[in-house]
């Protein structure tokens, strides 16, 4: 729809086309993210903006489109916001420290299927920022919880788990994301249907890290 709008704007020399982020157009890259009629990614569940079809609207409807509204996501231009804060949270510890080579055979450590599946569900986060945009506090707890859960559920991620959760939460606070007040708007708007249980797991990991001895 925005393509068509922009094509018209250019064709008719009316105005500069509206800048908006988009890339894969199949709901996986996490680039697109618009507030449409008051909901992140529009009025449908489990989809990104690019997957919202015009058939979800009626002829003659007014459509309100806004960028993500959150302090840690400053607007760059029009509907484009800067989400590099998410990258910074990941850089704070959202990974397992490995260097290339020198790792054991992939089947050395068996992982219970249900654990691997839970990790996979948490790992399907696309980093679009809808959870932050939906939250009245602009909290990134679902994003951080998904990454912490994904890694904490796997034996490979256990080694750094305590340190990881501590660093990621501190970074999240430092970047200006708000606190979680358990409204779960994030879960309702997540295009990948990531569950709020990941926030609980994050909290458990956080408490464990506070009192545990594993942390540096």
């Amino acid at each position: 729809m925005l393509d068509i709008l922009n094509e018209q704007l250019v064709n008719d020399h009316i105005a500069h086309p509206v800048c908006f982020d988009n890339d894969c157009r199949e709901g996986i890259c996490g680039m697109c993210g618009l507030y449409i009629n008051g909901r992140p990614h529009g009025n449908d569940d489990g989809i990104t903006t690019c997957q919202l079809h015009m058939r979800k609207f009626h002829d003659g409807d007014d459509i309100w489109i806004e960028p993500w509204r959150a302090k840690p996501f400053p607007v760059i231009r029009d509907l484009v916001v800067d989400r590099s804060a998410f990258d910074k949270i990941i850089q704070a510890g959202g990974y397992i420290s490995t260097t290339t080579g020198g790792v054991p055979d992939a089947n050395t450590i068996p992982i219970p299927k249900h654990k691997a599946d839970m990790a996979m569900d948490a790992a399907s986060c696309i980093g679009c920022g809808a959870c932050v945009a939906a939250c009245k506090n602009a909290s990134a707890m679902l994003f951080v919880g998904a990454k912490v859960s994904h890694l904490a559920l796997l034996p490979q991620g256990q080694i750094e788990a305590a340190d990881r959760v501590h660093k990621m939460v501190c970074k999240m606070d430092e970047l200006g994301f708000g606190s979680c007040t358990n409204t779960y708007a994030c879960e309702a708007e997540c295009p990948k249907l990531i569950k709020r249980q990941n926030i609980s797991r994050l909290n458990r990991q956080w408490i464990g890290a506070l009192f545990g001895r594993d942390r540096k």
Partner: protein, 673 residues
């Protein structure tokens, strides 16, 4: 231009070991003094940058998106191959090597492919250590599935989001290196030119996509990992911003471009449905494992379906034509991609298509009955959800519709065994190079190649190049070569913004895509290629007269970005056409209607065309010159039979699918009325 593939001596299985044993290395204290630029943050770029950074080099990495995690590798669904033989079903390095060479229709370099198969297992180890949540069986061990064209189960997968999980793994280790300070990340930056100093790649000019500023970066070596050029066709499964420009500017600066005509068409995409469509969505080919492909046996049924009078579920079993199972009983629905694509086209061409007439059914009713809905949901749940979101149809109840679309480009920058292009110091990895897939790529091999290049090949071979570079000191970005390159980029941008016509960039891109799909797509012949050449030239002339780009070059300007990418596509299109024209044979993804078997399958000409065509740029509008790199098969015996053999029971099609190109025209009209 002289092509030296630098294939190490010795028996095939020992080449890589020998290479590693005798190559030059850089000692840890010197690594700190060497700068490397990596362009692109997909699987190849991210894994290369992370590995090189961890080794101690200074790495600068660039991407056009707002985060390295957005690269289009993320959209790969099906899986990644590795010769682990965890299933004990007869897989081995040798077999993966043979399958890849054969799948590429004997147009890939033996030594490269063998190395790819050799390091494939280590990729899985690496990814598991990074926390990639691959699918597992109930005993907790890794699960595998068989994938388009393979007779063994060697594909590792993470639901239908394997590319995403592998990329997030690489993004994780990359993030770690960024935090450690060994890698510097530059987002929303597009490479505009390569700077060559005294014959070596020494830096790049990038455009900051937020401010429009041009910036210079200098380094001892440059790695290009910018993916393929499938968007040349406008409608493809590539992301909107995927483009071939970074590779193309390197080509302009002297890097040879190999086999551009090898373009892969993916058989399982969601069919085109309307005029405003901006891209095509791929459905993982893994669906072919359990889904059965069919069209109605009777033409009147197909017509009734197209008219909306009949539902597919109302057609009784005996009136369905499971044409792949019929024609290729040994492989059934798992035939290689090009065969599946052409067979779908053949059926639709003959009037049996469903939906808009350009679609076939992919039916899961049998699988649901056999395995239960839960198992099917577990395996393909997210793909089914995606399909339903796009088409508003429930694939658990009614068969899916699929159709082929442009998906992957086997051609790319020519590289030697070290993945170095013909410009010393410029390396190309992943889809951006041409090296491992020959004329056609097997399913689940793109992820394998991207990560093999980045984790296990470049970290070795680049050292061999960089070992001498410790003597040259820091590279300066204030030399005349940088000045000249930056001025040229500025002039190019100004020229585009001052045309002042009245048509949008997309208008021309759609038209270019239409020409290429129609005359240089799934099937080509001399006549169609001549026509394409003429039409592309005309279109380019019109572009320079009447394109309108609002705004200027010193601001965020997506229209301008599209324009300079399209400008490069015009030249690239000419090269694809020239390459397709010169290759008077059919092989893999390149199908010349003049060269087909009686059954309408590809007909190779090994005597005359068993070589890599490497093209050298001669200036705008000038025909490029071609250099041949002969392909020598010492290890594998080249099979001269068509790579799919019919079994006696299979009914053969009465006519080859590509007697004429009228179907392409019909389809193009559907895309671009």
């Amino acid at each position: 231009m002289k092509l030296d593939s630098k294939i190490p001596a010795g028996p095939l299985a020992e080449k890589w070991t020998n290479y590693k044993a005798s190559q030059k290395l850089v000692n840890p204290a010197n690594k700190r003094k060497l700068d490397i630029i990596v362009v692109g943050t997909g699987l190849a770029g991210a894994s290369a940058a992370a590995s090189l950074g961890a080794m101690g080099f200074n790495v600068d990495i660039f991407c056009i998106q707002d985060s390295p995690r957005r690269a289009h590798s993320i959209a790969a669904q099906g899986g990644i191959n590795a010769a682990k033989n965890y299933q004990n079903d007869g897989d081995s390095v040798e077999r993966l090597f043979r399958d890849t060479i054969k799948g590429g229709d004997y147009r890939a370099r033996e030594a490269n492919v063998y190395r790819l198969a050799e390091v494939s297992g280590a990729i899985i180890d690496q990814c598991v250590a990074q926390g990639v949540p691959f699918a597992r069986d109930y005993g907790g061990l890794l699960d595998n599935r068989s994938f388009g064209g393979a007779q063994v189960s060697r594909t590792f997968y993470a639901k239908g989001q394997t590319g995403q999980q592998l990329l997030l793994g690489a993004y994780g280790v990359l993030s770690r290196e960024i935090a450690r300070g060994t890698v510097k990340l530059h987002t929303r930056c597009e490479m505009m030119d390569l700077v060559v100093v005294e014959g070596r790649a020494r830096g790049i000019i990038v455009r900051n996509l937020v401010t429009g500023d041009l910036e210079r970066y200098a380094a001892h070596a440059v790695v290009l990992a910018t993916g393929g050029y499938g968007n040349l066709y406008y409608l493809s499964t590539n992301a909107m911003n995927s483009n071939g420009s970074a590779a193309w500017v390197c080509h302009r600066k002297g890097a040879a471009f190999a086999n551009p005509c090898y373009v892969q068409i993916h058989p399982t995409c969601i069919p085109v449905h309307g005029d405003y469509q901006s891209k095509l969505t791929l459905m993982s080919e893994s669906l072919r494992n359990d889904g059965r492909i069919w069209v109605p046996k009777k033409k009147e049924d197909a017509e009734a379906i197209r008219a909306g009078k009949l539902k597919p579920t109302e057609i009784p079993e005996e009136n369905r034509d499971y044409y792949l199972e019929r024609r290729y009983p040994a492989f059934g629905n798992l035939v290689p991609r090009d065969v599946a694509s052409r067979a779908a086209k053949e059926r639709c061409d003959a009037g049996y298509g469903v939906g808009t007439g350009y679609a076939v059914y992919l039916d899961f009713a049998d699988a649901i009955q056999r395995l239960g809905k839960d198992v099917v949901e577990q395996k393909y749940g997210n793909l089914f959800q995606m399909y339903q979101k796009i088409t508003d149809e429930n694939p658990y109840e009614t068969p899916m519709m699929i159709y082929p679309a442009i998906h992957y480009t086997m051609g790319g920058l020519w590289v030697d065994y070290e993945l170095q292009t013909t410009i010393p110091g410029l390396f190309a990895a992943g889809e951006a190079n041409f090296s491992d897939h020959g004329a056609n790529r097997l399913g689940a091999s793109a992820l394998m190649q991207g990560l093999a290049d980045g984790y296990f090949v470049l970290p070795y071979t680049m050292q061999n190049y960089l070992a001498d570079q410790i003597y040259v000191g820091k590279i300066s970005s204030t030399t005349p070569e940088f000045d000249k390159a930056e001025v040229a980029v500025r002039e190019r941008l100004n020229k585009l913004t001052t045309i002042g016509g009245d048509k949008t960039v997309d208008h021309f891109h759609k038209a270019l895509g239409k020409i290429m799909w129609e005359y240089c797509g799934m099937a080509r012949n001399t006549e169609s290629l001549n026509k394409a050449k003429k039409l592309v030239s005309q279109l380019e002339d019109e572009f320079w007269k009447s394109v309108f780009i609002p705004g200027n070059a010193n601001e965020m300007n997506p229209e301008l970005e599209k324009a300079y990418r399209l400008e490069d596509y015009f030249e690239l299109a000419q090269l694809v056409i020239d390459d397709a024209m010169h290759r008077e044979e059919s092989c893999g993804g390149h199908f010349r209607t003049e060269h087909q078997t009686e059954d309408g399958e590809t007909l190779r000409d090994d005597e005359h065309f068993m070589y890599v065509a490497a093209w050298e740029y001669q200036g705008h509008g000038q025909p490029e010159t071609m250099e041949k790199e002969p392909l020598v098969y010492e290890h594998i015996q080249v099979s001269h039979e068509v790579h799919i053999t019919y079994l006696a029971s299979g009914e053969r099609p009465s006519q080859g699918p590509f007697r004429d190109l009228s179907f392409g025209r019909h389809l193009a009209r559907l895309f671009f009325p």
